[in-house]
Structure formats: C-alpha cells, structure tokens
C-alpha cells in the first residue's frame, strides 16, 4: 500500500519536473525573441544609438582581447628573464669557477633574485621609472604606491602597470648578477650584498631612468635630449654591468695565484646548460621589450636568434683558426656575446643586419677575452667585461649604424633612423649614451667600492679564499664526494 503511494508521489514529481523545464524553456525562448520584437518598433535615431552602443562595445571587446594577449606574452617574458638569472646565469658562471666556489658563485646570483626584488618594491622602481628629472626618477612610487593594474600609456598602453613593473624588475635582477663574474672566487658575501644594494641605487636606477624613464635624458621614445636607441638594455644592462665588472676586478685585484696557478672551469657541462637557458630566456628579454605581443616582438625575437647564432659561429671560427680547435666553451661564449650585442639593436634591425651584428660581436669579444685581457693582465675571472662590457658597447654603437625605420619607425614613419638609412647623427647619440653609461658605471662603482671596502672589507681572507667560498662563506659544499 505504502509502496503504491510512493510510486504516485514519484510520478507526480517527475511530471512536475518535466513540466517546469518545458515552461522554463519556452520562457527562455520568449526572452531571446524579445529584443527583435522590441527593435521593430523603434525610431531611426534609436536604432542609430543602439548601433553606436554596439560599436563602442565591440571596440572595448577588441581592446580587452589585445590587452589579454599582450599581458599573456609579457608575463611569460618576465618569467623567461628571471629564468636567465635563476638557472641560466647561475649555471653559466657556476661551471666556470673551481668546484670549491660553485655554491658561493650561484648564491651571488640567487641573492640578487631576493634582495633586488625587495629593494625594487621599496624604492628602486620609483627611482628608475617614477616621474623625476632627466637623470633619476622621484619618490612618487616608493612602496609601489600608484603602481596598480591600470596601464600607464607612457610606458605600455595595453598591459597593467604592475606587469610592466615586474617585467622591469627582472632586468634589475640580472644586471648586478652579471657583475659577479668579474669578482668571482674572492669577494665576501656580506660585502657583495651591500655593494649590490648601493649599485642598484646609484648606478642602475639612474641609468634605467635616463634611457627608459619618463623625461629621461636619453629616452628615444619619450623625447629625451639625446635620443639613444636601446631596445632591451645594451647600455642600461650590459655596458653598466660590464664596465662596473672591470672596475671591481681592478679594485679587488687578482685571485690568489692568478695567473700562475691553473684555474680551469670545473664543469663546462654546467656552463653549457646555463648558456642554452640564457639563449632561450633572452627571447623574453628582447622580444618582451616590445612591451606587447605584436609585430615588433616578432622582429626583436628574430633578430635575437640570428644575432646569437652568428656570434657563436664568429667566436668559434676565430678560435678554430687561432687555436686549431673549436671549443664548446668558445661556442657558448660567442652565443652570449651575440645576445648581448643584439640586445640594444633587436626591435630596430632587420634579420640580415642581426647576422652582421652577431658576427662582428662574436669575433670582437673573442679578441677582448683572449688577447686584450692577457695584454692588460687584469683578472676579470669569468669575463663579465670582455663579454658584457665589450659586447654591450659594440652592440649599442652598431645599433646606430643598422637601425631601420621599416622595422621600427621610432622617429616617425619613413624618417631615417640609423647611419645606413642616412641618419649619421644617430651614431653620435649612441656615443653619448655609451659614454654616459661608461662614466656613471666607473664613477658610481669606484665610490661604492671605496665605501664598502672601508666599512666591511671587500675580499675574503687568504685562508678563506684557499678554502673556497662554499665553505668559508656559506658553511657547505657543492659536491660532497663522501656520501
């Protein structure tokens, strides 16, 4: 009896559910039909207004789609540039030192990932990209005040300002990390930290502001006094770090026993992996510097790749001729030299010009590292100057030669950009940019080294240097053969 009642209830429930969804469906159909019936009775002005509204909606949808596309590429690029420091440079440099110093060397780069990030949030973003004078930004954006999700059209109109901020941060991290190659195997960790914080404040921030910041002296796209073409940081990143590297190498002096005691790389394999990560990461560095995902990013991406390949060949051929064998270390060093030299030029030059820039840089940096360093006898341990200082300088100058308005009409459509297009004056501007980068690096670095040397002392003790940075600075070893 009870069972039958339950069955009736159940069938009633079933009918209700089916009925309700049928009624709901017809209501939905009525809803979708209603706009058509409502416009039928409208006057012409109302219809025009409706179309205009639709037009505005479409434009907003297109802008949102572009913004999403650009933002996706820029976030990926930011991650790629961090990868250049993180495993890339740490492995590249780590393999080149003796095995008692591998962790100390890797930690110097890793420390930048932490320390420069915090400093960036507190003050250096504001000093580099905040409103200020021609030389340095102001303090309007300290603690990232006013750096929100709304784009700043002066920097990049289609991505949130925070994306721009975090992307630029990755450059601020790798630049001081590059210097560590010059003083490898002999600098105190504590002194290195203080040196780098002061360097970020006194050298990197002003240089980045001058080239890329609002109102900067050398800013080519925001009306600077001496418009210097530097697409992704040939002067800001590579000349500053490379020249500062030379100064620190000279100031600290040679490593114990250099050059009599042999100090070959303990693992070219690690360096090889690091260099390949640098090559891949550099697409974020250069193509990301378009600050959008459009055609300019493609130009920069292509130029970057061609420059790296040509430079690897240039260095290898020079080495093959002079030493009889093309080494793996030579090939990867050449590739990095080419990536450095194409950095200011990517986004301004054609693929064929990129091949020339790479080839010239590969051969030039080979001679800087192999011949010039030996002539002067300084101990730029991992060739931070020979690759970044020399490559950055020649790349910045060659940008003024090869820049092409078809790739990037930065001075207006059809207006000549580089020397080969008939704008010889640009080469002069490039010289000014390079000269300022050299000057600020030499003066700033000397002052900082002097202060840190007096307050903390730059070098580790002789015993600590013999023992290696891993044990003496960090109390651990990279390779523990006993376990």
């Amino acid at each position: 009896m009870r069972l039958r009642v339950a069955k009736v209830y159940l069938s009633l429930l079933f009918v209700l559910i089916v009925g309700a969804s049928a009624v709901d469906g017809s209501r939905m159909m009525a809803q979708s039909a209603s706009p058509a019936s409502s416009t039928a009775g409208l006057s012409q002005t109302d219809r025009i207004a409706a179309l205009e509204k639709q037009n505005v909606d479409n434009a907003a949808a297109i802008a949102a789609a572009q913004s999403a596309g650009d933002n996706a590429w820029m976030l990926v690029s930011a991650a790629l540039v961090l990868m250049m420091s993180g495993p890339g440079l740490a492995l590249f440099y780590g393999g080149l030192v003796r095995k008692k110093n591998i962790l100390g060397t890797m930690m110097q780069t890793f420390a930048m990932m932490a320390v420069i990030t915090v400093l960036w949030a507190l003050v250096t973003y504001s000093l580099a990209f905040g409103e200020g004078n021609a030389f340095i930004g102001g303090l309007h954006n300290v603690f990232l005040k006013g750096v929100g999700l709304v784009p700043d059209p002066k920097y990049a109109a289609t991505i949130p300002l925070q994306t721009f901020m975090v992307y630029q941060l990755m450059f601020a991290i790798i630049t001081p990390a590059l210097i560590t190659g010059a003083f490898a195997e002999r600098m105190k960790f504590s002194a290195m930290l203080v040196f780098m914080v002061l360097w970020a404040l006194l050298v990197y921030s002003p240089m980045a502001h001058m080239v890329w910041g609002k109102g900067g002296l050398l800013n080519a796209s925001l009306g600077g006094r001496f418009p210097t073409l530097d697409f992704a940081g040939g002067t800001v990143v590579h000349v500053t770090s490379g020249v500062s590297a030379l100064i620190t190498a000279l100031y600290l002096g040679k490593r114990l026993g250099y050059p009599k005691v042999p100090m070959p790389p303990h693992s070219v394999v690690l360096s090889f992996i690091g260099a390949c990560l640098l090559w891949v990461g550099w697409f974020g560095f250069n193509a990301g510097s378009a600050l959008s995902a459009g055609t300019l990013a493609t130009s920069a991406f292509v130029a970057t790749h061609f420059g790296a390949a040509a430079a690897a060949i240039g260095w290898s051929v020079a080495e093959w001729i002079r030493q009889g064998k093309p080494s793996a270390l030579g090939a990867i060093s050449g590739c990095v030299a080419g990536l450095v030299a194409i950095t200011p030029a990517a986004g301004f030059v054609t693929p064929m010009s990129a091949l020339w820039i790479g080839l010239i840089a590969g051969v030039f940096c080979y001679f800087m590292v192999v011949k010039v360093k030996a002539w002067f006898g300084y101990d730029d341990s991992l060739d931070a100057f020979g690759v970044h200082g020399a490559g950055g300088t020649i790349g910045a100058l060659l940008t003024g030669v090869f820049a092409n308005s078809v790739i990037n009409p930065i001075f207006g459509t059809g207006k000549p950009t580089g020397l080969f297009e008939g704008n010889g004056h640009q080469l002069l501007n490039q010289f000014v940019g390079v000269a300022i980068a050299w000057s600020i690096s030499i003066v700033g670095t000397l002052i900082i080294l002097f202060i840190v040397d007096k307050v903390i002392g730059l070098r580790v003790s002789v015993e600590d240097e013999r023992e290696g940075l891993d044990l003496s600075q960090h109390g651990e070893e990279g390779y523990d053969w006993a376990h």
Partner: protein, 112 residues
C-alpha cells in the same frame, strides 16, 4: 700470495676484467685514478688560456692471487691491455702476508 696492481687505460678495463675472470680470478678492486709515467700529458684551452694537463685519467686494478696463478694473471692483463702505444700503463707485483675473509675468518689462499 701476490698482489698485482695494474694501472691501465680506462678504455681497456672491460677487456682486462674479462681476461682475468676467464683464467679463474674471482675478485678484484677497481679505482678511478689519475697519473702519468713517461707518457706526456696534453694541453687544454679555456677562453684562450692554455692549461697543461699531465695527470691523465687511468684505472687502477688490484688483484690478489695465489703464487701459482701470478704469471697467468700477468699475461692475461698485459695481453688484454696492450695497444703498443705509449701510455698503456704498468703492473706492480708485491708479496701479501695474509688474507682474511671477514664473513667467516677464513685465512690464507682460501680467503681469496
């Protein structure tokens, strides 16, 4: 009992090992080593800097055999490791006073 210490080319290790096992040698100890005899080293270049490397990678093989086995073992090693070129390595032979098997305190040749 005699101990044979043979320093050989790393690439010849497998051939030497097989030759010893074939004549009935039951145990051996292998060490990766570096060294040189009359053979000269080579030079390496890193970013144009020349490094002369005179300690070359070798394999050191230690075998303890009974006196009766000694000459056969030496012959097995020399024939397997010889290329005829400089750098083939050397064999040293020395007397062993005692051998003890840790598992059951067996002593002498039976412990080999």
């Amino acid at each position: 009992m005699q101990k044979i210490e043979a320093v050989i080319q790393p690439s010849k290790l497998d051939a030497v090992k097989d030759a010893l096992v074939e004549i009935g040698v039951e145990g051996m100890t292998i060490t990766e080593a570096r060294g040189h005899g009359r053979q000269k080293g080579h030079t390496e270049f890193y970013r144009g800097r020349e490094y002369s490397v005179d300690l070359l990678p070798k394999v050191k093989l230690e075998v303890v055999v009974s006196d009766s086995m000694l000459e056969r073992a030496i012959a097995a090693i020399t024939s397997a490791a010889r290329t005829g070129a400089i750098g083939d390595g050397k064999i040293f032979v020395s007397k062993i006073d005692e051998a003890i098997r840790i598992r059951n305190d067996e002593r002498g040749e039976i412990a080999l």
